[in-house]
Subunit: 703 residues, 2 copies
């Protein structure tokens, strides 16, 4: 009974029910999965995929290996579908392990869990004895990846499937077009990918391979065709379909645009028919996302005679009615093809059919309004991973909580110290959601909360940066979607997160902690500088919210109502240190826990060693990075941060001296820290000095 | 002209001819490969494979990206073949790059080279202007991977193809069977892979995927069916075919065995017919390797009446004649199937047809004898990567050097200080080769030296350990096979090697420097201990030659003519720190060059920082690894090494103090170093203290 795994400490998302038992299954000779007799092909394939994953950690299973016996399992449908049974039961005793699952999807979750449960100590590798009964809380547990702003190619998506499976995510929502690009091969309208798919698109065979690999993991792939707005790439290929302006070249700028399809043209509907035919051929899932977000209000304020006449004929009185009429048309076309529609929460309108599923992205208000109006709904508002929040903030949103709680949690973001300088922007978006919601009548039959999706918009994400940006925060969303909210605990989650990220790095080809080695090359880092650069980067975090995307000056302009000079567009090279930073630095969690551990036990050796090691490495940075700063402007721009860390090294050492001598840190030290914190509060090359926070919090806790 | 790439410093293997030119091609917007019009499908596929590799380093190519223009290129044959044109010409100017290659294989080499040439400085990414005319020296540039002792699965082999391509290797020789396993799916004799393929075999579809991927990279896949010896796995499935004993269970022991096929039985020939039919269906290459090595001399010393009669009837007088008769039969069967045979140098025999290619593994003597007897030949004797030599030793062997030079180079190994304690064993093997060679008459028409192969026998290599074990030394062999020997320079090679390994880690999925993260997990290392463990491991190297495989005691037994108690068999878990060590520690090259750089410029900052950093990290190890040693016996076993490193830290700091003060290290310091070196010379848990050597060499150089 010496394993923390008995208590489920290493597990993320937290399982439904775990009963520790006495004993352990020894795995010194490996673990061999035993197939049930006459297993259907998908089950055979599942085992063929997982056996090497166990072997990689344990060594190849010997004849006398321990066994993991899979009970007879149905192959389920050809593809995973919303609401499929995903439960499983895993029983581990000293003599073997048994996995029961009604469906192959549940069996896949069971094997993933078994990988997480692997443990080892001085006696070798083992599985702690336990009984685990598990299954997800909500049936739609998704992540949106945006292929339009920066393309993500097939190998990237394939490795990502393994990362998603490790988190219990079962929907991969692909945002396939936007102003900046059109990302799938359209057999019927090849002009689209040919003219607007520059820098990459998924070929027909790529989609087939992706869908097959996702299916093998129980993951649905839901495509999004974003219409009628965000249509820059479509209009670059077909300018004749524009309701407002059409782009002269493929747009590179980010931010809301006026590119939208003209719903009054037959040709628009011809294109949509063709594209939906393409999509339903490519993607087997029952759902297709039709976008519907951020149509510029002035674009559909038609003034010309032809379109005024068309509006009259259709009985449309304003821009909102025009968009609603358009969306109803697309929903109907999908229904003809046997598919159900999902749309962003701007589709909410009294004229919208209840059969449409609504994805609430601006606030809890639209989630509640959608459910009240009879729509099935997905929650995303608190889960925008592109905003650079730390994971614990995303973890605070329970999509199934009473609406008042969810609204309060969203409002609390604006007063979060970390986001103090962007709180007004956060509130403005929530207010817009509340506005949309107000116009909507409630109906008798309330819709179902299907689940939700983490959204990683990719203005500042490339395929090389994906892993570092995605997993740290996805884990928070994944646990919210999978686990019992009664057991939700922010501290426990943060405690399990570093281990889970290490697990992902160990069992998949994703690198959420170490990142893609190509990036350090781009930054000009030579191999012998790698450790020092890691020491620097792990002490930094990026600035938050749209301060990153708009820039410090750009955000100020936007607040003052002036159009911001955006520092980024789709061509900007993401070659600066800030681009490599995860919004949460795992090393800073380690610093924090070492500080508090030393305070609890001033004679404790491991915490002291950890803190001395941080201080020692920070102190060396000005020397170690001197040559790099001479070669590389982006590192020269971090000169203040490097000096601040060296100064912090002295403070940290003095602090450790004091605590180790059973003394309180003195006033002089506090004053010096306060002064440093004040100076270092300003953004430097879009970075924050993350190392300040654990030390500041610790000093705070000792007053 | 500010790039060292102009001079080819970053290139490995060294190109044939490189002319630096003035200027550089700026790559700030990426690099786009331009296809020639009407390019054949293999060329289109080649570009489709390389474009994302450039994009990963440079960012996705923009519309206005620099161009790399590929001239019209032939698709060559369906598969690469011995002697195909592999040359290319790469011209880089400030306005663009052009690649000319007569064949798609040459174009692939050109793209690989272009990846190596990518550089960046404060001005961004670029290619230095140059003219490069390149092509390999020898047509057969191979690596043997042994799938029998430990299986290497398809994903491992696929990623390895990229690593081989980066080295200019064009033959992947697969050792598919041995005593311990049979590793391909035989359609005609399924009993073989079913009974003897435990822990993995390549399925028919795996081989097809591997061959297709290899073909796309211009790499030939040459299968080896090792007969008549090393037949334990075959005889486990078909004991009725044994000439001597048949194994009761699938053999796990390593080392020479007595398992050999009985050539006097028709059933043996029936099995061989079937297996060769399988192999020629699976592998399109013109060559098949038939093994032929290490048949135990007593097994074919037939005493029974039936086989004596058979020998008489065939006119066979001794065991050597029996084996030669067998080999001739297999060669003839291959010829009937349109294939040419390769065999290990034990196949040399006056009765052997000259059409057989001989792979010299025991010494230069058999290489010369084979060539003199009219055989085409491959050199491998100096290139056994499983022996744990540092790369520079393998680099000393030029297979096309006059035989006396090659023999002298081999003999010099025995007096190499690093191998002082195993020199007698090295000489014994060379003597055996000379014996074989003596019996052979020369003929008028000398054979051709086709090239050679690095051999990585896998007794102590699993797929998780492969990358760390393979690439550091493969580079030495690759340069010998590719480059002009006139330019060969050990110091230059060692100087380029670390950069090349970093390059491989950056442009492929292979991890020759960082290794598989699963392995640290197996060793019980927690994430926060990773850096300290790396600091420890990079200061160690494994013991050399068969001292590793046989163990220190086992080697002593073997020397005394007693059968050694082998510490390893095919079931031994490779879970100890020594298993993770590359035979050459790249960090120790860095230590060495910093020491000599400081001596050259005692005020130089970078070298001093590097040396202080080593000392600082070594000094922390006893504290940082204390907890791990308590949990993990294998790390506890390294306690002496950890203490020795902490002591070495003090010596190194004092040495830096002295040099920085323009003083010579004093006698007291030298004495303390000498004492430490004496104590640390003993193997600890099969490791050497590699950190001693650069410091010792440096002290030596200052006397």
């Amino acid at each position: 009974m010496n394993s923390s795994k008995h208590e489920g400490h290493g597990l993320l998302p937290r399982p439904l029910r775990l009963e520790p038992r006495w004993g352990r299954l020894e795995l010194g000779r490996g673990l061999r999965i035993e197939l049930p007799p006459d297993a259907p092909p998908p089950v055979v394939e599942l085992v063929r995929r997982f056996q090497p994953r166990f072997d990689r950690l344990l060594g190849a299973a010997a004849e006398e290996a321990a066994t993991l016996k899979l009970a007879p399992t149905e192959a389920a449908g050809n593809h995973p579908a919303l609401g499929d049974d995903e439960t499983y039961r895993l029983r581990i005793t000293a003599s073997g392990a048994e996995l029961d699952a009604p469906s192959v999807w549940g069996a896949a979750h069971g094997f993933e869990r078994c990988l997480q449960l692997l443990d080892r100590d001085a006696g070798g590798a083992f599985l702690a004895a336990l009984l685990l009964e598990d299954g997800p809380r909500l049936p739609w547990r998704g992540v949106l990846l945006d292929l339009a702003r920066h393309f993500l190619d097939l190998p990237t998506l394939l490795r990502t499937l393994d990362g998603l499976a490790a988190a219990g995510i079962n929907v991969l929502h692909l945002h396939l077009n936007d102003d900046q690009g059109f990302r799938f091969e359209s057999r019927r309208c090849p002009r689209l990918h040919e003219r607007s798919g520059s820098r990459g698109y998924l070929r027909v065979e790529d989609v087939a391979e992706l869908v097959a690999a996702a299916t093998a993991r129980g993951i649905r792939v839901v495509p999004e065709l974003d219409v009628p707005g965000h249509a820059g790439a479509i209009l670059h290929a077909h300018p004749e379909l524009a309701a407002g302006p059409a782009p002269a070249t493929l747009p590179r700028a980010f931010g809301p645009s006026r590119y939208a399809l003209d719903p009054s043209l037959d040709a628009t509907w011809g294109l949509l028919e063709a594209l939906l035919d393409d999509l339903v051929e490519l993607f087997p899932d029952a759902y297709v996302h039709l976008g519907g977000d951020e149509v510029h209000p002035e674009v559909y304020a038609f003034e010309d005679a032809r379109r005024r006449a068309w509006m009259s004929a259709e009985g449309l009185t304003d821009a909102a009615a025009v968009q609603a009429w358009f969306t109803r048309g697309v929903v109907a076309m999908l229904a003809e093809r046997g598919r159900r529609a999902v749309g962003w929460d701007e589709v909410l309108h009294p004229a919208m059919p209840a059969a449409m599923t609504v994805q609430a992205w601006r606030g809890a208000a639209t989630l509640e309004a959608a459910l009240a109006a009879g729509h099935d709904a997905l929650y995303s508002a608190g889960w925008y991973l592109d905003l650079g929040y730390p994971a614990r903030l995303h973890y605070r949103f329970d999509p199934a909580a009473p609406v008042a709680e969810l609204v309060a949690a969203e409002a609390a973001l604006a007063t979060e110290p970390l986001l103090a300088d962007v709180g007004d922007g956060i509130l403005a978006l929530q207010a817009a959601a509340a506005d949309t919601a107000k116009a909507l009548p409630a109906v008798a039959r309330r819709g179902r909360l299907l689940g939700g999706e983490a959204c990683l918009w990719s203005e500042l994400v490339t395929q090389e940066l994906l892993d570092v940006r995605l997993y740290g925060r996805l884990a928070a969303v994944a646990e919210r979607l999978w686990s019992d909210p009664v057991a939700a605990d922010e501290a426990s989650f943060e405690c399990r997160l570093p281990g889970w990220l290490t697990h992902v790095e160990r069992v998949t080809d994703c690198r959420p902690l170490t990142g893609d080695p190509a990036l350090l090359w781009r930054l000009g880092v030579e191999p012998q500088e790698r450790l020092a650069v890691e020491t620097l980067l792990e002490a930094l975090e990026p600035v938050r919210w749209y301060k990153r995307l708009l820039g410090v000056d750009g955000l100020a302009s936007r607040r003052e109502g002036r159009p911001p000079q955006r520092p980024y567009d789709a061509d900007t090279l993401l070659h600066r240190p800030v681009d490599l930073l995860p919004p949460d630095s795992p090393a800073m969690w380690q610093l924090r826990s070492a500080l508090f551990a030393l305070a609890a036990d001033p004679e404790g050796l491991p915490a002291r060693v950890t803190l001395r090691d941080f201080a020692g490495r920070w102190r060396m940075l000005p020397l170690q990075l001197g040559a790099l700063q001479q070669r590389s402007q982006p590192f020269l721009a971090l000169a203040d941060r490097i000096e601040q860390l060296a100064e912090l090294a002295d403070l940290l050492d003095e602090l450790v001296d004091a605590v180790s001598a059973f003394e309180s840190p003195g006033m002089a030290l506090r004053q010096r820290f306060g002064e440093l914190a004040r100076i270092a509060a300003a953004a430097v090359a879009e970075t924050e000095l993350a190392a300040l926070r654990p030390i500041g919090d610790w000093l705070e806790s000792r007053t």
